[in-house]
């Protein structure tokens, strides 16, 4: 893998990790302000680096749910056609995939999750869930196909082809708090949602969601990431 690809990989990784990092330090007891009832926001727009990517996702099933106890859950659901397309692509490019070095992925895995290896992916995924609240769902970890995939990856250190599960989703769980962020450039403060923990004295949540009222008068919010020029909008419909 050339260095440019490594750089792109690391930037993508940073984008993804910075979007999930909020989960790193969740408070167990939380008296910060929360939604008083369970509130679900559904994806309405998704843009990455000026590209509309909403087609890659199942918008109706990509949601952020806020619970009154201070917990939230973001669910990313791919477009139902995507797992099939990816699976076919992988079958057609089997040899190319086998030639991809995964050493950079393994290097980052060992740093983000010390003691883990990308080549031993199943325990690494478990640790990802425990440590950062990021869960990959829809995989039958004890099923024949998954067991064979993980064993092949560990042995060959290359990416084996596999059938992407049709009901694959990614969920991110974290604590949250509602807040207002004053701005020197507008009269009204931003209505925001802090994800993860923050210190009373001036800590810094990694992910802030910005709330607004959309054109149809619905309560809405968006999340942004500068690295990926990412903006995902959600609204209560």
């Amino acid at each position: 893998m050339n260095k440019r690809k490594v750089l792109i990989l690391s930037l993508l990784l940073i984008g993804v990790l910075s979007s999930v990092f909020c989960l790193a330090s969740c408070t167990e007891t939380d008296d910060r302000p929360h939604f008083t009832q369970e509130t679900t926001f559904t994806l309405t727009a998704a843009e990455v680096m000026s590209n509309d990517v909403i087609g890659y996702l199942s918008a109706d099933n990509t949601t952020i749910v806020f619970f009154p106890d201070g917990r939230m859950r973001l669910t990313l659901t791919p477009n139902p056609a995507l797992p099939g397309i990816v699976s076919v692509y992988m079958m057609r490019h089997k040899d190319d995939l086998a030639g991809i070095s995964l050493s950079d992925m393994d290097r980052y895995t060992g740093e983000v999750l010390p003691g883990q290896s990308f080549y031993r992916l199943m325990p690494a995924l478990m640790k990802l869930g425990d440590s950062l609240g990021l869960h990959v769902n829809g995989i039958d970890y004890e099923g024949e196909a998954a067991v064979a995939f993980f064993a092949d990856l560990e042995e060959s250190h290359t990416l084996p082809t596999f059938a992407v599960p049709k009901d694959l989703t990614v969920t991110i769980e974290a604590s949250y708090a509602l807040c207002e962020v004053p701005s020197a450039t507008q009269e009204e403060p931003f209505r925001a949602i802090y994800l993860g923990d923050y210190a009373d004295l001036g800590g810094d949540p990694i992910l802030l969601l910005t709330r607004y009222t959309d054109d149809e008068g619905n309560e809405a919010l968006f999340l942004t990431n500068e690295t990926l020029a990412l903006r995902f909008d959600f609204s209560v419909r």
Partner: protein, 338 residues
């Protein structure tokens, strides 16, 4: 006499109560004190998504949070991975806040802004090409890019002062990551370096000196516009002590600073802040000892690290660097609990 003693006690009580009330309001006998606002801008070194390990312990290792916590600042991190000088210029030039990150407001209200930038101006244009040019003594491509970097830097600094004329601005120099075992250079280029009788760290140094010179050139033209936090000198000192010490400062990708690298950057920045009278050394040193001890307990209890012995050694340390040395000597290659 008894009455006088009672009266005296009452006065002492009253005075001490008043004093504690005043202190609670953030005031001292010398006048009101205010929590300082500290802001980090720039690239992934400042952002610290890649760097701290495990990622879940970012708040315990990233230098932005170390500076914030140890000094009791209100701190914010608005550095963005991948930012080149041109992108930072665009970011700070936006006319208004666009979302709850309120970066324009944070620049306006900051007492101290620390910036890590310039690295991606080189990195994203191909380190291998620059290294090959350097072997031939050709720095024209580097100089061309750094000319643009200089112009962007001027714009960034002008804009920051336009938003906040009173801010104390600190710019970090960039460290040389091209030690012999780096994965930043391709095998082909490494071979050329060896065959040409060069040393990769020297090649890196010739490039990094030009890169950091952008900051020094600016200061010659605009004296006292910012203060330098010489991170490069700190990392270079580690390398001169032995390349393995520099490698300990580096994350596995050989680009970003590791936990120990972040601690080293913290030490450099903290020293600058103390020299500028913006931080109280005794209080910060004690807070840093406490922070490191708590971190040790949290991450290394139940591992092979003798937590109590290390905490005792940290308690006796008299400098930030000594604390870092004790902590990281004890924890190197030990998998934390997280």
């Amino acid at each position: 006499m008894k009455k006088k003693a009672l009266l005296l006690c009452a006065v002492i009580l009253l005075v001490s109560t008043l004093f504690s009330l005043v202190a609670g309001c953030g005031e001292t006998a010398e006048g009101p004190t205010r929590q300082l606002n500290f802001l980090v801008l720039g690239d992934s070194i400042g952002e610290a998504i890649l760097g701290p390990s495990p990622l879940a312990a970012r708040d315990l290792y990233a230098y932005c949070t170390l500076i914030g916590k140890v000094n009791g600042y209100r701190y914010h991190n608005r550095a963005v991975s991948g930012f080149k000088t041109g992108q930072l210029l665009e970011y700070v030039s936006r006319p208004a806040d666009e979302n709850a990150y309120t970066h324009i407001t944070l620049i306006k209200e900051a007492d101290i802004i620390d910036v890590s930038i310039l690295g991606n101006d080189f990195l994203q244009d191909g380190v291998n090409r620059f290294a090959e040019d350097a072997m031939q003594g050709d720095f024209s491509r580097a100089e061309r890019i750094l000319g643009e970097s200089y112009d962007n830097l001027c714009g960034i600094i002008d804009r920051i002062y336009e938003l906040n004329p009173d801010v104390t601005l600190i710019m970090q120099t960039l460290y040389n990551p091209l030690f012999a075992d780096t994965i930043m250079l391709s095998d082909v280029v490494k071979q050329k370096i060896t065959e040409g009788g060069f040393d990769s760290y020297d090649i890196g140094g010739s490039l990094l000196n030009r890169l950091n010179d952008v900051l020094y050139r600016y200061l010659v033209q605009h004296p006292y516009k910012f203060f330098i936090a010489d991170v490069n000198a700190k990392f270079d000192y580690a390398y001169r002590k032995g390349p393995q010490y520099l490698e300990r400062y580096m994350y596995a990708d050989c680009v970003h600073p590791s936990n120990e690298g972040h601690a080293a950057i913290f030490s450099v920045l903290q020293t600058v802040l103390e020299q500028l009278g913006l931080a109280d050394h005794d209080r910060a040193l004690q807070n840093y000892k406490d922070l490191c001890s708590e971190r040790l307990t949290k991450l290394y209890s139940g591992t092979s690290v003798n937590v109590n012995d290390v905490k005792k050694a940290i308690k006796c340390a008299s400098t930030y660097d000594k604390i870092n040395e004790i902590y990281f000597d004890a924890t190197v290659d030990v998998v934390p609990r997280y």
